[in-house]
């Protein structure tokens, strides 16, 4: 055990689990104690969902080094699969958390399967081309999901595309209604389940990263040709990362879908994909704790700025640009260091003067 704790990776992983658990306990405590406003209560599940989306995308972008612009597509598959499964199991599984969990697993598996199917053609491409194709697939998935009609009545399940080609019997219910999306969803999502989702995501991603699979994935990122030359099947490992990432996004999507009473496919568009990517990049590529923190802060930030009304999104844009300039630009960094040197120089001089 002691040897285990001496391992640098194990230690930093424990820190991540600890931060997440403390956050959960504090928020849950405040929630139970009635200290949260209703809007803050509403943030809890989405925060968990976005943490999990950011961490799973970080596996792809930060650790595998593949830019994906279609993460919201997998989230959407998970969301609608989750909604349908939860509706179908309404009577069969009475225990709500169990029904939710089954919905999340099904959402994850379907998203993972979609990831695999998409991965076969997509992973032949690299770099910006991979990015554009993931963007295209994200839009295709959104487009398909947004044109599905699923109804449930005494006769069973009815499914059709482009328009509702079935009429439901009395007492029947539309689960998905094309572009309108799902309405009348029974909200199953809970903050503790969100916490479980985050734990599962962290467990999968962290354990994957610190294993031979993770090393192979990082090797492919650092130098594809060298990775091949030491016997690593590059395509297989990119695929593994892609499918795992899609699976986790699907689980998160299912929880997200079951957190609202209605959900339209347009939610899972390019902008959502981009937002998740922003969480990853600002949190630090490959930095899992960074993703957790930035997803939390950046999700809450625009919401917290709501009092500024029209100015909040423009402020968000400015913050985003400035953060990128200050963290990346060599010139801005140099300028900052010159300024701080000067300021500290002034203080030092004063110190010398007062000392002398």
């Amino acid at each position: 055990m002691k040897k285990l704790l001496n391992n640098k990776n194990t230690r930093s992983n424990l820190v991540i689990y600890l931060v997440v658990t403390v956050f959960f306990l504090v928020m849950q405590g405040m929630n139970m104690g009635g200290m949260l406003t209703s809007s803050w209560k509403g943030f809890l599940v989405p925060i968990c969902v976005y943490i999990s989306l950011a961490v799973s995308l970080n596996l792809l972008v930060g650790i595998c080094g593949e830019l994906s612009l279609g993460h919201a597509g997998f989230m959407g598959i998970g969301a609608f699969a989750g909604i349908v499964v939860a509706a179908l199991l309404q009577d069969a599984v009475a225990l709500e958390p169990l029904r939710l969990f089954i919905a999340m697993i099904v959402g994850g598996v379907l998203a993972g399967a979609a990831g695999f199917l998409i991965g076969i053609p997509v992973l032949r491409l690299r770099g910006d081309y991979l990015a554009i194709v993931t963007l295209a697939f994200g839009e295709i998935l959104k487009n398909i999901v947004g044109n599905l009609y699923v109804g449930l009545d005494a006769e069973g399940v009815h499914v059709s595309a482009t328009s509702a080609k079935f009429t439901l019997l009395e007492g029947g219910k539309m689960i998905l209604d094309g572009p309108v999306g799902a309405t009348g969803i029974k909200k199953l999502a809970t903050f503790p389940m969100g916490f479980v989702l985050v734990l599962i995501t962290l467990f999968v991603v962290l354990n994957l990263v610190n294993s031979k699979e993770g090393r192979a994935i990082k090797a492919v990122r650092d130098n594809r040709i060298a990775a091949e030359s030491v016997g690593i099947n590059v395509t297989a490992f990119r695929m593994k990362a892609f499918v795992v990432s899609a699976f986790l996004a699907g689980m998160a999507g299912a929880l997200f879908g079951l957190n609202y009473s209605s959900m339209a496919a347009s939610k899972f568009n390019f902008n959502t994909s981009i937002n998740i990517l922003v969480f990853v990049v600002l949190g630090g590529m490959g930095n899992i704790l960074g993703s957790v923190i930035s997803a939390t802060v950046l999700y809450v930030l625009p919401e917290a700025l709501r009092s500024l009304e029209d100015y909040r999104m423009i402020l968000y844009a400015v913050v985003l640009i400035l953060v990128m300039l200050f963290t990346w630009s060599p010139r801005v960094k140099e300028f900052v260091s010159v300024v701080t040197d000067k300021i500290s120089g002034i203080f030092k001089k004063k110190e010398v003067e007062t000392n002398g």
Partner: protein, 280 residues
């Protein structure tokens, strides 16, 4: 490993250079190899056999096609003509990672380390196919994961120590000095448990004392692991001292083959390197 048709070609006898290799199947058997790039012949009629414990050199002027030959031998390029047999198996049509599994490993002229990873992890990536631990076992952190990782760590450290790199095990590969990076690439290649290792200009950028050290290490690799070594090098001192056989290429073709002594006095080689003497 059964998804590729394997044609094991039995060849009666081999006149391999080293006495102890005589009559054995060569680790590398290259026959009539050639590649064209858009009508331009880069390599042509390249023939070579390498005994199981032989150190051979490939020399030639810049642009003679040496690295192209290495790329053909490791499956990076598919040849237009001819065949490459690694341990008797034709690599035709195989992806690079499968060719490596047949027992051929390499280093690169322009160093290709996994620069964001530690030296130790670089070596452990090299051991990837050696580490026996399933995806599920690493995901669930089963005991077999810890066993496999501990064993891998131990072996990787041994290999690093063998090349005198144990001290830098925890440093990022990209931050290491040039000469150290070259040696780390060799360790990573060794970690794949090859039967032949190709070194592309291993001494490039090294100072004379580092080069001397490298010569000893190359011999030590052969003597310890009993593997064949095939190297491209411009440092003639290293080539003449370490290699037991040398092939000289120019314009993609072999112009001479033989022992260092034979090569040194071969007029075609002198001409390729120094140009033809004028008769005026």
């Amino acid at each position: 490993m059964a998804d590729y048709p394997r044609k094991v070609i039995q060849v009666p006898t081999y006149n391999l250079f080293r006495e102890q290799d005589a009559g054995k199947q060569p680790v590398l058997d290259v026959r009539n190899l050639g590649i064209d790039f858009g009508g331009l012949t880069a390599v042509d009629s390249f023939n070579i056999t390498l005994g199981p414990t032989e150190i051979s050199g490939l020399i030639g002027p810049n642009g003679a096609g040496k690295t192209t030959i290495f790329n053909l031998l490791t499956g990076v390029y598919q040849p237009t003509r001819g065949s490459v047999l690694v341990n008797g198996i034709d690599i035709k049509g195989m992806p690079v990672h499968k060719v490596n599994k047949l027992g051929i490993a390499r280093t690169f002229q322009n160093i290709r380390l996994f620069s964001e990873m530690t030296a130790l992890d670089n070596v452990k990536v090299g051991m990837h196919n050696e580490i026996r631990c399933s995806f599920l076992a690493s995901l669930l952190r089963l005991p077999s994961y810890y066993r496999a990782e501990a064993a891998a760590n131990m072996k990787a450290m041994e290999l690093l120590d063998f090349m005198g790199l144990a001290d830098v095990a925890d440093q990022k590969a990209g931050s290491l000095p040039y000469g150290v990076q070259r040696r780390l690439e060799i360790v990573r290649a060794l970690a794949t448990n090859p039967s032949v290792i190709l070194l592309d200009e291993p001494a490039a950028g090294m100072n004379p004392s580092e080069t001397t050290e490298l010569m000893h290490q190359i011999r030590r690799i052969r003597d310890t692991f009993h593997i064949a070594i095939f190297l491209i090098e411009h440092d003639m001192n290293l080539v003449m001292n370490v290699c037991e056989a040398i092939a000289v290429v120019n314009y993609g073709k072999i112009i001479a083959k033989g022992t260092p002594e034979e090569i040194r006095s071969n007029p075609a080689v002198i001409e390729a390197y120094l140009g033809k003497e004028d008769n005026d």
